[in-house]
Structure formats: C-alpha cells, structure tokens
C-alpha cells in the first residue's frame, strides 16, 4: 500500500505525460503480482466500493479529533480526504516527553553539536509522570512511547493494496468503519490519503485509464493498442496480461464480442498541404461538431448486446439508452454523436446540455434525442473490415445503415468536389454545399484517402481534418499565471478581456483564458512583458497593466462561443488560443463585448449568414 500510495503521490504532482508514464511503468516493473494488477485496476477505474462514502470518513475523524481543531484544519487544507489523512491520530505520531535540562548547564561550544538520535531530540525521558499531568484526549491516552519504538506502519506484515481490495470486497457494511480505522492507524500520511481516495472512489491524480494502459504496455513488446484491444476481456488483477507483456505467457485472447476498437485519428491540414495532394485520391465528408463515438453490437445466445464508447474507450452506454435500443445489427460503427431535433442537427451547445446531465430522464430523452451519424464501419457481423480500403468500407457502411433502417442512425454524406477550389468553397459555406440546415453543426471538412485501411492512432497521411476558419478577436491581456512543468518559470496562461460599457465608462471584462498558440519565442516575449508590467500579484497570478493606452493586445482565435453563467462576461469560448501578438495595437482599439454578442447570435442562427 505504501508503494502504491507513493506512486499516486508522485503522479498527483507530476505535470508531464511522459514522466507520468515513466513513473507508472517503473512501478509496474518493480511490483509483484497481484499487487500491481490491483494498482492497475485502481488507476483504470475498475474498482469501486459502494459502501465507502465520504460521510463515513467524516464520522471516523469526528470521533477522534477536537471539532474546533478539525474545523481550523479543514479550513486551511480545503480537502476532506487530505485533512483526514493528515490529522488522523496515530500511535507513531505521539511525542515522547521532554527532558528538562538543568538550567545552568555547562556552556556548550556553538558550532556542530552532533547528535545521533534518530527520533525526537528529548526522547527517552525519565519524566514519564509529566504526561499524566497533561492528558491529551485528542489522541487517546498518551502513550509512553519512551519505553519503546513507536509502532511503524512498515513494522510486521506490511499492509498491501491486495489485502485492502480483498478485504473490502468481502466485508459487510457494518464492519467497514472499524476496518478502515485499523488501516488508517497503520498507515502514514501519504498512505492514508491514498487509502481514502481509493475507497471513496476517484483517484484524480491526473493519470487517465488510457495512460495507465500505455504504461503497462511499455513493460514489454506489446503496444498500447494491443492492450486497449484486449482490455475489455481482461479482469483484475490482470496476471495473464503482465505475464504476456513480460514474455512469460501467451497473449490473452479477446473474448468480448463488443470490445472497443482504438480509433483512427486525423492530422490537421494546413492549406499549404493541399498542393502536394491529388484530389482524386480522397473522399471528403463534413466534420461534425459532436462527440466521436463507437457503437458496437453483437448477438449472444442470451440475446442482443450493444455498447456505446467514447473516443477514449469509456463505456457511455448508460447515458444513451435511446441509441443502444436501436443498435440491433451485429457490427461496429465509427461515427458522431449528435442531437437531432425536427430533422435538423443541433449545435454543440445543445449537445452539451444533454452531456452534462447525471441522470437520464424521460424528459431529457425527449428534449435532446440522440442521433448517430455514421462515417465508418469497422466490423460487419463477425467480419473485421479494418483492413479494407476506406472506399470499400464506405460501401459496406452504406449497406449496413440501410439494413439497420433506423431514423436515429444515418450516413454522414460525402462532400462532392472535383478539385481543391471546389472543396475550399464548400468549407467556406457548408450550407450551400450540401449540409443544408445541418450546417450549424459542421466544424470543417474531413479528407480521407480512398485506399487507406483503418489504422489505430494518428498515422500521418491517410486522414486530414480541415477545420473552418476560426473566429478571431483582438483582446487585451489582463492576468497571467505561471505554467507547470517545463513552463513553470514562465507566465504562460493568459486571461484576456474585451471592452464593455461599465458604470464609470469603458472597462475590460475577462472573456477567456488561453495557454497555447504562441511560439517559444513569443512566450519569452510575453513573459518578459508580464514581469515588467505587473500591477498586482495574487499567488502565482499576476495582474498586468491593461489601460486604453498601455498594455498588450492579443489576437485570439476560437472555434465557438456559448452562453455561460459561470463567467462574468456571460460567455465561454471553445478552444481559444493566441494566434498573434499585436504589439502594434493600443489596447483602446481592441474589440468590444458587442462583437462577441454578434458572433453568438450568428452561431445560434446556424452560422450560415
């Protein structure tokens, strides 16, 4: 448990993906079965313990600490698990009594006073009676630890993650508090923090399930895609998976008929790339502004089974029963999840209103009907189509969708073009080029090579995404925050604002935050500007001068805009990034909130104007 806790602790602080990978791989390499398998299960979210609730933890700490001290501590730390982990009274935290020195002891030379004592400087006291005078009810009876070593969590049989998991799966609800308390007594601060996170669910250490699987794959010859493919058929503690990766066993067989298949991804297209490409080699589709999903169905003896996966392989079937119901043909569709009302695809803003809900009510299903727009077919029945060229898969898809014959599932149409000029025109005006009323949900064009098989990952060449021109505004830099990892010495996160009419004339209102889009050279320039023009500091954040005649104008590009109650401006941007630095422009000439209002009105009308 201590090693697993140390891993979580490091992951929680480490900002870089590659470093997180290294930390996890190193852990898996040096930890035996089944311990590492349970750790993998915890990291991939495969474990859950329904009886352990935060309220239970709260009760445990309330029984053991002074309420005033708990309140002060919780207020300071701000996180319940962490406060409890740090405050938990343990035998080993009990201090020994002090040994008062004779007042006028012989003068000691200053300088080095070597002490070999490993614990408190005045342990091994003869004044045990002292403890009796001053009881310490907030940590139970004062232990005479001067008589011996304090109990060490490492001492004796160390608590393993395996034993925690095994005990929790068999333990009744009634015994849980007592068992948890025993474990918390035996662990150190980091161990307690990790245990509480583990049992109450949600490790939140910034390592996705996908990253954990990639870290396991790095143990051996297997690549991350292999592990992803096998994953649905594996169960914790994954002994056969580790054996295979380390060359000590056969590759486990995928048994899951509705397994997730790692998706094929596209590279962004720059207009300059077009000259090198032959239009005849490609098919074009609309790029839909929804969420990428994979809809898989199979037939079993027990009946039909269907699953809907997100792009990262997360099973999201429960949120979309309306789609699951209509997946009655065995196969695997790659497509876009959209909301379609009155025969018209809605914008991403509308889709988000369904995505953000926790419970799926009848009203939600009626108001936000889910729709699947299919653009690829990975399997037809038992047959794996991924080796076929795209053009051939497309033909099979057309046939498959026709056989399904469900209004909720349709084919993403091809965009006709004879040359790049025609495609450029279509990208500029999707409504006129065939997208019609659905143009509100088009965010660009996908280019797919006719001959390309379906290759997991992001191979360069076969697929290109060519987004619509972003929206552009000129905004004023207001606040800058230091970045993380490699950027921790740079002010690299920028909050920017636009002008609006305030009570006392024009004022800037923050409308967004961006932390990419600039070059390394530009980052150094902005960083220098921030350091020289700071007007106030709030922890890692600096307020930067922003007056009509003083300050820095940033050209900000973004993909979309929606209304938001969380922001002072009432707006939230999608994918804002810094596209240019406008050193030449006085802040007074930056854009106004009215421009953003006009953009949002245009988006809401279908962006076709």
């Amino acid at each position: 448990m201590n090693r697993f806790a140390a891993l979580l602790d490091r992951l929680a602080y480490e900002p870089a993906r590659n470093s997180k990978l290294r930390l996890m791989t190193e852990y898996f390499r040096s930890t035996p079965d089944p311990e590492r398998g349970w750790a993998l299960a915890a990291l991939t979210g495969a474990l859950s313990f329904p009886h352990a609730k935060p309220g239970l933890i709260r009760n445990l700490i309330a029984e053991r600490t002074d309420p005033a001290l708990f309140a002060l501590s919780y207020d300071y730390v701000g996180d319940l698990s962490e406060t409890v982990a740090l405050m938990w009274p343990t035998p080993s935290s009990s201090h020994a009594q002090h040994d008062p020195s004779p007042l006028a002891g012989e003068g000691r030379e200053g300088g080095r006073e070597a002490t070999q004592q490993s614990k408190r400087a005045h342990e091994n006291s003869s004044l045990l009676a002292q403890a009796v005078l001053i009881p310490t009810p907030d940590r139970g009876p004062h232990r005479a630890s001067a008589m011996g070593c304090p109990a060490s969590p490492q001492g004796g049989g160390e608590l393993t993650l395996t034993s925690v998991v095994e005990t929790l799966t068999t333990l009744g609800k009634a015994q849980l508090p007592q068992q948890l308390a025993r474990w918390l007594d035996a662990l150190d601060e980091t161990g307690r923090w990790a245990l509480i996170k583990l049992v109450t669910g949600g490790l939140r250490v910034g390592a996705s399930a996908r990253l954990a699987k990639a870290a396991v794959a790095a143990l051996g010859a297997g690549d991350a895609q292999d592990v992803e493919l096998l994953w649905p058929s594996l169960t914790p503690p994954y002994v056969e998976l580790f054996a295979w990766l380390e060359g000590n066993g056969e590759k486990p067989q995928s048994a899951d008929p509705v397994a997730f298949r790692p998706p094929m991804l596209a590279h962004a297209l720059e207009e300059t790339n077009l000259a090198a490409l032959d239009p005849a080699d490609f098919l074009a589709e609309w790029k839909w502004d929804g969420i990428r999903v994979q809809a898989v169905a199979a037939r079993r003896e027990s009946g039909a089974i269907a699953r809907l996966y997100s792009r990262t392989g997360e099973d999201i079937s429960k949120s979309f029963p309306d789609l699951i119901d209509v997946l009655h043909l065995p196969g695997a569709i790659d497509g876009e999840l959209l909301i379609r009302r009155d025969g018209r695809v809605q914008s991403f803003n509308v889709l988000q209103q369904r995505l953000n809900r926790k419970s799926v009510t009848a009203k939600l299903l009626a108001d936000f009907p889910a729709h699947l727009r299919a653009y690829d077919l990975l399997a037809d029945g038992e047959e794996d189509l991924r080796i076929l060229p795209f053009a051939a898969r497309r033909a099979r898809l057309q046939d498959f969708v026709a056989r399904l014959n469900e209004p909720r599932i349709d084919l993403s149409p091809l965009v006709e073009f004879a040359n790049w000029e025609e495609l450029t025109a279509a990208r500029k005006d999707p409504a006129a080029a065939g997208a019609g009323a659905d143009a509100a949900a088009v965010e660009g064009i996908m280019l797919k090579r006719r001959e390309a098989p379906y290759l997991p990952g992001r191979p360069k060449g076969p697929w290109w995404k060519w987004k619509r021109e972003p929206f552009i505004i000129d905004a004023v830099l207001m606040y800058a925050q230091r970045g993380h990892g490699k950027r921790s010495s740079y002010y690299s996160d920028y909050t920017f604002g636009v002008w609006t009419r305030g009570d006392t004339g024009d004022e800037l209102v923050p409308v967004g935050k961006a932390y990419f889009g600039f070059t390394d050279e530009e980052l150094i320039q902005i960083d220098r500007f921030v350091r020289r023009n700071t007007t106030e500091r709030f922890g890692p954040v600096r307020e930067v001068v922003h007056e009509p005649d003083q300050g820095l104008v940033l050209e900000v590009a973004f993909e979309g805009l929606q209304r938001s109650t969380r922001h002072k401006s009432g707006l939230a941007m999608r994918f804002p990034r810094i596209s240019r630095l406008r050193w030449d422009k006085p802040p007074g000439e930056a854009d106004r909130l009215e421009l953003l209002e006009a953009i949002i009105a245009r988006i809401e009308q279908g962006r076709t104007a």
Partner: protein, 345 residues
C-alpha cells in the same frame, strides 16, 4: 511581579523593561538579543546585539561588518545579568547558532524560544528543554495537519526521482540559511556522493557552515555550468529561484521544494512544485504541543503562525494561553518575494 512586568509587547517587538533590552526586535533598538539569524528575527541597525557567535557571524555575512553598533557573543548555557534581569541562551535546534532565550527576574522565568524544532538535525545543536513559568512559542505549523515525519524518507524520495530521471536536472528549493545545509547533510548521510551544485545566493552561508566543521561533501557553484553538464545533477537554490528566469539554464528540471508547507498539497501545487519534500526546521504540531506541555509553564504566549489552534489546544489542556501579535515574523505567504527566502521555512 507579573510576567507582563518582565516581558511586554511594544511596537518594536518583545521588550524587557527591567533588563533594558528587546528580543528579536523588528525595528532598530538600543540593545537587542537575537535568537537566530533569519532576517525576520535578526535585523540590521541595532545599537548593541547579544547573540551566539554563529548568529553574529551569519548576521555579518548577510548585512556586512557594520550591521550593529556593538556585538557580544554568548555561549549556550551561559548566563548574563542585564540590569534587573538575568538571561541565558539555550539551543533551539532550528538552525546553526539558534537559541532560546530564558529571562529571569523577580523569581519568574520566561523562555522566548524564537523558532525551534525538537528533532535531530546534523547541522545544529539539538533543542534543549528549559523548565519555565511562561513559555513563548512560535506557531508556524500549529495545526494538527502538520506532522513533518521522517526527513530521511523525503530524501529517499528525492534520490529515487534522480535515479528515475537521469536526463533531467533536479532543483531543490530550500531556504539559504539552515534548510539548504541540512538537506545537503541529509543527502550525504543517505549516501549521495556526487557533487551538489549551489545557487550563488547560498554559497557564502554554506561555506560558513563548512568552516564550523559541518562536512557537506563536494559542492560546486552552478554559475557557468553548461546545460548538458547539469543533466542528472542536483542543485540547491532559494525557493524563489524555482520560478525565476534562472531556472531556464537547466535541462527539463524537476522542481523540488524542502519545506514544512509541502505537507499541504494545494500549497505545493500553487508553487508549481512537482516533488514536494516535507522537511522543516520548525516544530510540527506534535512537537509544539509536546514541548509546550513539557516546559511545565503555566502560561503560554503564542507568536507568529496559527495561533488560534495552539491557544485552543492549551485551553483544552488547562493551560493559560494567549496570542502575541508580533508584526513582521514569518511572512512566508508570497511565493514570489525574495523575502520568502528569509524566514527559515
């Protein structure tokens, strides 16, 4: 005589009227007794300063030869009568030369402990417990969430990271006086034998420690070192340097920070630290409460830090306690400020 007649709070800090001196005054005074050389306790410009030899030496290093009108060194355990009061200096275990100051008058003994810690530190004399009637304690980490644990475990964590990322540089933020030298000594004790690099701001103090017989192994200035040369190395620097332009000379640095504040995740994250090391030169909650109890003092005065919690604890344990609001101690909240480097935590 009441304790308040011996020591009282004045705008310049704690003052002893009958002895004619101040302890760790925050403004220039005629006679100052200084507990230790951190700049929030030891300021320049006093008429006469009484302190341990190390504290005087360190003040001279930081402020120059003329930091005070006159100086007098006192040894641990030595007593001195100043007008109507007798003062004795005892080791505080905080940093090299740090002392608690016992003041006796009218049959009462008050101990002003300055900053202290009650666990072993290879770079300074161990804390000595002094029985007294009134104990003046710091409260930097006076919340039950602060338990510093074993510094050896934190050093092991740092060494594991160096082994795992041999192509990266490890920057260890540590306060220039005390913490930096303690971290180096702990690294050596853990068997780390490679040269350790130093930020320019820590060179003179670290060399002073060595001159007092504290072995720190091979130390190199980081100044002038090539970027590639710094891969796989460890450099000690003031915490503010971690986020400074200075940090850009290192290959893909891992930012570590040795401080008791690192116990709280939000604080570590806020400072952009990816490897927090809980190593403190202040007593933790258990250390504070155990010490307060063991002095036998019937009255506790609590200065700088989380006074509320410690005053509350004293009250629930039958001890009379009150906060002493001294302005100017322990201002460590602003991570950017250079002053942050001066408080010892």
């Amino acid at each position: 005589m009441r304790p308040e007649d011996i020591l009282a709070l004045t705008p310049a800090g704690i003052s002893c009227k009958c002895g004619g001196f101040h302890i760790d005054p925050t403004r220039p005074v005629a006679r100052a007794l200084i507990t230790h050389a951190h700049s929030d306790h030891a300021r320049a410009g006093h008429g006469a300063v009484l302190a341990t030899q190390e504290t005087l030496d360190l003040m001279r290093l930081r402020y120059g030869e003329n930091f005070a009108g006159a100086t007098q060194a006192i040894r641990y355990g030595e007593s001195l009568t100043l007008d109507g009061a007798t003062v004795t200096f005892h080791p505080a275990g905080h940093v090299l030369g740090s002392a608690q100051i016992a003041v006796e008058a009218g049959g009462l003994r008050i101990v002003a402990s300055g900053d202290y810690k009650d666990i072993a530190d290879p770079t300074c004399a161990p804390f000595e417990l002094v029985r007294c009637d009134v104990f003046i304690t710091e409260a930097t980490f006076a919340l039950p969430v602060f338990r510093h644990g074993d510094p050896g475990g934190e050093i092991a964590k740092l060494l594991r990271s160096v082994a795992l990322f041999p192509e990266r540089a490890h920057l260890v933020g540590a306060y220039s006086l005390g913490k930096a030298q303690r971290v180096i000594a702990l690294l050596r004790a853990a068997g780390y034998a490679s040269p350790i690099y130093l930020h320019g701001a820590m060179e003179s103090i670290t060399h002073y420690y060595e001159s007092r017989g504290i072995a720190l192994g091979e130390l190199r200035p980081v100044r002038g070192a090539a970027k590639a040369e710094l891969a796989g190395t460890m450099t000690l620097c003031p915490p503010s340097a971690l986020t400074d332009l200075w940090a850009r000379r290192f290959p893909d640095p891992v930012n570590a920070f040795a401080s008791g504040w690192m116990r709280v995740r939000a604080r570590a994250r806020q400072q952009g630290v990816s490897l927090p090391l809980v190593i403190s030169d202040h007593a933790d909650w258990d250390g504070l409460t155990a010490t307060v109890a063991a002095t036998g003092a019937g009255e506790i005065w609590v200065t700088h830090g989380q006074e509320d919690a410690l005053v509350h604890w004293c009250a629930t344990h039958g001890l009379k306690a009150r906060p002493l609001d001294i302005v100017g101690y322990g201002e460590e909240d602003e991570p950017d400020a250079a002053a942050n480097d001066e408080t010892g935590e």
